[in-house]
């Protein structure tokens, strides 16, 4: 079909190039996830304002860990640039680095929970501590989901021949967006934890 179709107003009726449906679905999904965390942080603020709130020093490791996640995101972005420019090495090793740092993040979060526990802040104690456990735990679960996605991408990267097709790029972008979102989410959550 070469002739451009028009409707009764003479408007062009060809399909506009719309955002890829999978990406759109991912973004909507991320908005949903965001709402869940916004709800938790709002609950946190409301509860905090309501009194009977136990103040304590949040273990440093939780802040430090933000850098781990950000650095992981940077590596992933580098990997993406490598993918687009055809640098196979940057693509593969950037991805691998991001994956490893993702795992490091989860391990360090676990250390953070141990540090909390050593401080005498238990899951079943004052809600101020419970919130920290639940919110960071839920975030960690989502990060683990992202690690699985990175793992799949990694397997693709090392098993398949390096042909940067549009399809693969689209799929890779899904993983990347999700992963950046995880980093962003942890920064967002830290704003609240900072203010404990």
């Amino acid at each position: 079909m070469t002739r451009v179709m028009t409707d009764i107003h003479g408007q062009n009726m060809e399909r506009r190039s719309r955002i890829h449906p999978h990406k759109l679905a991912l973004w909507i999904g991320l908005a949903s996830i965001m709402m869940m965390f916004v709800a938790l942080t709002s609950a946190y603020l409301v509860k905090k304002g309501g009194g009977e709130w136990l103040d304590f020093e949040v273990p440093q490791i939780f802040y430090f860990n933000a850098f781990v996640l950000i650095f992981s995101s940077v590596l992933l972005q580098a990997s993406y640039v490598g993918f687009k420019r055809g640098h196979e090495k940057t693509y593969k090793y950037g991805l691998a680095g991001a994956f490893v740092l993702g795992i490091v993040f989860v391990i360090l979060q676990y250390k953070g929970w141990q540090a909390l526990y050593d401080l005498g802040i238990y899951l079943s104690g004052n809600p101020s501590g419970s919130f920290l456990y639940i919110i960071s735990g839920l975030h960690a679960l989502h990060v683990i989901g992202g690690i699985v996605a990175l793992l799949v991408a990694l397997i693709f990267a090392f098993r398949l021949r390096f042909v940067p097709t549009k399809r693969r790029r689209n799929r890779f972008e899904l993983v990347i967006h999700y992963w950046h979102f995880m980093g962003f989410l942890w920064l967002y959550l830290l704003i609240f934890l900072f203010s404990i």
């Binding site: 409707d7 449906p21 759109l24 949903s32 709002s42 409301v46 709130w53 004052n126």
Partner: protein, 616 residues
Amino acid sequence: MEKSTLFVDDEKLLKDKGYDDHFHEHHHDEDPYQSNFITKYIFSMDHKMIAKQFLLTGMFWAIIGAAMSVIFRLQLGFPAESLTWLKPLLGKWIVVNSQGVGHLSTEFYYAMVTMHGTIIVFFVLTAGLSGTFSNLLIPLQIGARDMASPLLNMMSYWFFFLASVVMFISLFVSTGPFSGGWVAYPPLSALPQAMSGSGTGMTLWLISLTLFVVSVLLGGLNYVTTVLNLRTKGMSMWRLPLTIWSFFITAIIGLLSFPVLVAGFLLLMADRSLGTSFYLSEIFINGHALDNVGGSPVLYQHLFWFLGHPEVYIIILPAMGIVSEVMSTHARKPIFGYKAMVISIASIAFLSFLVWAHHMFVSGMNPFIANFFTIFTLIIAVPSAVKVFNWISTLYKGNLTLNTPMLFAIGFVSMFISGGLTGLYLGNSAIDIQMHDTYFVVAHFHIVMGVAAFFGMFAGVYHWFPKMFGRFMNETLGKIHFWGTMLTAYLIFWPMHYMGLAGVPRRYYKFDVFDTFSQFSELNKFITVMAIIAFFVQLVFVTNFFHSMFFGKKVRSKNPWKSTTLEWTTPILPGHGNWPGKLPTVQRWAYDYGKDGFDFIPQIQPKLDGETSAVH
């Protein structure tokens, strides 16, 4: 003026103007969608079949939910009569005293009230209404072959099915289903020892509703992506039928509000099983003090109602979309104020996130904050009134065909007005202090949400039954159904306003110890009798539905209602992919009824010779 019927050769239009997406080139003989019984009827990925699955499951739950209300109404209306005859059905939940008089056990009464609410709100009016019609109509009315992701769509149904199975099992556990009200406020919901339904029953309730949320999210994701991505050529957003607008915005509300409920549930689960105290503080139970401190049950109320209020619009918006579409078709007039309708839907959706605390005016909140919520609550009445005005203007001087779908659409407007007006009373925090948790609230939300949404659903079922099954439903039975329901619904709920004004609290097992309320015992009997009649009238619908499915009058032409929208350009019983050849392209908006002397001009019709310029 006499309207002439435009001769539309839709086969030719589809062929000449249609859009060839090479559908049949990648679908050869072995169509993966319809190959055998299991993939066709059970694990189907076809949106039309999934729609029917949602509808049938919804009907199943509607019957159960309605039967439950009859059971607790019997106890309420006739506290002195013996219910021993229900023992074969309910077993130990009927407690027989030494004189041989049987009553519903109090726990079971609360369990029935709770389950009735949960089932009708979530399983019937959310899944059964939005699930059915979003699935059926989105691809058909935007000119798509199917949903963006048929697989997610199938999963959406099966998560709902799982949720249903879990909830159904909870009805039979020995400690009974959950009994702390459909809103599941802690501490009743947070402490397994609080009452017998708070144990296993509540655990199953939580699991079931979490599965249900997954279903809603998967479905919503699909509806939004499909509407944004798969519209056929020429179908700009401003040409979408109002049905699609309402499903689209409903899905967005769901995607933004249900996760908040999940957050609330997470904390509740933690309180139940991990020993946290998010919602619990300083509680004495069975004479013992619990060591939970620092939590607050009001926190749960905030999280619940942040979903809960949008949820009521998740229920009513699809019904509004269906009513607009059905009304315009059977009034042979364009819907009045199309853009205003869309803007109202959008602003109702937006505002619905700002009013949740009007359910919590007596929770001890700061009265200044209550003012904020009062104002936004009253502002919602503006777009609601715009919609009502537009429906009435659509009817005004219309060439009305008063068939069953149209009657239900008009009935919807009546119900929405009656129930919306009482919302204005409740929205004022000062008045609500008196009205909260009385039968006034029960009357309000049953009329504005319960009955109205059911009416929207009935209008949709009667209207699109020909598209679903290639047959019509019986008109006589339909009219009996309509008038029976309309009458009994008002007779049940109207009197409840007076009881509420007098202060009769909702969710009470009996009132005979309150002298002030003894004046209502006759009224309570009357309401119960009406509820029983209403129940039997619904069986007329169920009979009509299944009978017509197999023996109804056959649809002989593609467009029996002379409607403009795309679903009526598909074959009478569309197969997988909806259009056998090319996809239709859209040339105009969805409401060209009675334009330029033509009875209707379908969306696929290009500009006619001498046609005045189009509105959209």
